[in-house]
């Protein structure tokens, strides 16, 4: 029977909900569920994931205060080894991508990145070529390491809380050190959690376009704001807002693509959205091919009208 170890991600004292997708994917294989929380002062995080695991292992150490790939990978692999874990899972977040391959190397395990489906205990599907192709791949090693695309697996139902226990960890010698983290501060929902996203393309013409035209729409909808690569490259928005093949993958209930052409690299990150609205002045823009509703027009005229109409419709 499979023994799963799910690596729990947290930031600033809060559970990253993307982790729940890793529990959901592991549950499709079936077997014993173990969770691993590393860091310092992470008791609350352990409690938050206890309903999804048979046992939550808490590894606290001064050397794990900051999440650095080298010491984290060592501790994860050590715990996986002593548990006899057959599968190690994490969300395919920037942290998951950073750390899990090193765990695979330490465990001499094959690894599948960013999977979108579980076929059986060794076979997985993953999007490739910017989501234009779905590959099916079998990991032929005894131990397997997998990162999970959060938008493809919804959080599992909470069960009776599992046992929480300390595990001793030794981060070992590391060649890396943490310097600082400059967080993007925002009152808006995070892209990953947002029910509605308003995404800015180059058509917004500058940061003023985002501020003056898109923000009021996002406010009216309680939406997060995202962007195309072009907008992030231009410095009009933080890099953390980039949606796409090489940015974030999102799947909100409602997605507005505004002044955004719909290059495959962008579409790769948002085509799973339930309802897509495109606003573009070019009727031939490729974004209209993936949009449920397309409106051809000048965003500077249309979006303020839309904002007002939505405010009215919501009463």
């Amino acid at each position: 029977m499979a023994t799963h170890l799910i690596v729990v991600e947290h930031q600033s004292g809060k559970l990253n909900k993307a982790t729940l997708s890793a529990f959901a994917a592991a549950a499709k294989v079936g077997g014993d569920m173990h969770a691993l929380v590393l860091g310092q002062g992470v008791g609350d995080i352990a409690k938050a994931v206890a309903p999804y695991a048979k046992k939550v292992h808490v590894g606290e150490h001064a050397g794990l205060k900051d999440r650095l790939a080298q010491p984290y990978a060592k501790c994860i692999a050590d715990v996986a080894g002593s548990l006899g874990a057959t599968h190690v899972w994490a969300a395919a977040s920037s942290a998951g991508k950073d750390v899990l391959p090193r765990v695979a190397a330490r465990l001499d395990a094959a690894m599948a990145s960013d999977i979108c489906a579980v076929i059986d205990e060794k076979t997985f599907k993953r999007p490739m070529w910017a989501g234009n192709v779905i590959g099916t791949v079998e990991l032929a090693t005894a131990k397997k390491v997998i990162t999970v695309r959060p938008t493809e697996f919804s959080a599992p139902a909470a069960g009776a809380p599992g046992e929480i226990g300390a595990v001793s960890v030794d981060p070992g010698a590391s060649k890396m050190s943490f310097v600082k983290f400059d967080a993007v501060v925002s009152d808006r929902p995070a892209l990953a959690d947002a029910r509605v996203i308003v995404a800015a393309g180059r058509g917004v013409k500058g940061p003023e376009g985002i501020k003056g035209v898109l923000e009021p729409l996002a406010d009216a909808l309680g939406a997060a704001i995202g962007a195309s690569r072009a907008v992030c490259d231009a410095g009009w928005a933080p890099n953390d807002w980039q949606i796409g093949q090489t940015g974030k993958v999102v799947a909100p209930e409602l997605y507005f693509a505004v002044g955004l052409s719909g290059a495959i690299q962008h579409v790769a990150g948002m085509k799973g959205s339930k309802c897509i609205v495109a606003i573009n002045k070019d009727p031939e823009a490729p974004i209209f091919q993936v949009a449920d509703y397309g409106l051809v027009g000048d965003l500077f005229k249309v979006v303020p009208e839309l904002t007002e109409a939505i405010k009215k419709a919501k009463g």
Partner: protein, 249 residues
């Protein structure tokens, strides 16, 4: 300083990706092949860091068939000094690539290995991290800016929620994100010179690596197509649809 840069031959990001008729893989015949865009950024960074740190050498390495020579030459045309092709025909998994690169690193002894954060065809985003672990080195993935000073690399990384700064002792692995730099175009004299720059060939055998198949590709499919949407005439129609049809607001 000495820099090693990895370059992968991939399908052009502007090409339409199609499966072969028998679905055995992605159609590459007649498709333009390029240097993985993230690797181009890695080459550019190595060239700039070589200048900033007072010279040295930039060596590029590709693993693949003789076709990958074209991508090595592209990097040489940008200004890299020398190329290495690890000749291999057939499937490779991430572990195989990492073990081959490990041997090349042990032979070349670079101060920094620059790689792309992700190959835009297979989209694994694993290789830099795997190589760092097998070498026991520090890593800075998704690099947005790099400073090499005082025997260490200080790197600003693009992370979820903001920018993280880490420091790595040299030697280390750095993987390039999109905004690390804007790669130069190769000049005509650059392209001419590249033809005469040294390009060595190695094989997995010569490197003492026995490749085993730990990842079995079972097949390919096209993703489910979204059903066609509709254009709406104006804002009022859009709001009506969102409210009454999609029930999204």
């Amino acid at each position: 300083m000495k820099f090693l840069v990895t370059v992968k031959r991939v399908t052009d990001f502007e090409a339409k990706v199609k499966l072969k008729a028998d679905k055995s893989g992605v159609e590459t015949s007649g498709v333009n092949m390029i240097v993985n865009p993230f690797d181009e950024i890695a080459v550019e960074e190595a060239l700039r860091q070589k200048d900033k740190t007072g010279g040295g050498e930039v060596v590029v390495v590709a693993i693949g068939t003789a076709d990958s020579t074209a991508q090595i030459r592209s990097a040489l045309a940008m200004g890299a000094d020398r190329g290495i092709l690890v000749k291999h025909d057939g499937a490779l998994d991430s572990n195989g690539v990492a073990r081959l690169l490990q041997k090349v690193v042990e032979k070349e002894k670079p101060d920094v290995v620059f790689m792309g954060k992700q190959a835009i065809d297979d989209d694994s985003a694993q290789e830099g991290q795997l190589l760092a672990e097998v070498l026991g080195w520090g890593q800075a993935t998704f690099a947005n800016s790099v400073t090499l000073e005082g025997g260490k690399a200080t790197v600003i990384r693009e992370a979820d929620g903001g920018l993280e700064t880490v420091a790595c002792e040299l030697p280390c692995i750095i993987t390039a994100d999109l905004r690390l730099n804007e790669p130069r175009y190769a000049s005509l004299p650059g392209i001419m010179k590249a033809k005469k720059k040294p390009l060595d060939e190695l094989t997995p055998d010569a490197l003492g690596v026995k490749l085993e198949s730990r990842v079995v590709v079972k097949g390919f499919e096209e993703p489910a197509q979204k059903k066609a949407g509709q254009k709406v005439a104006d804002v009022a129609a859009l709001v009506d649809k969102l409210k009454n049809e999609a029930k999204a607001i």
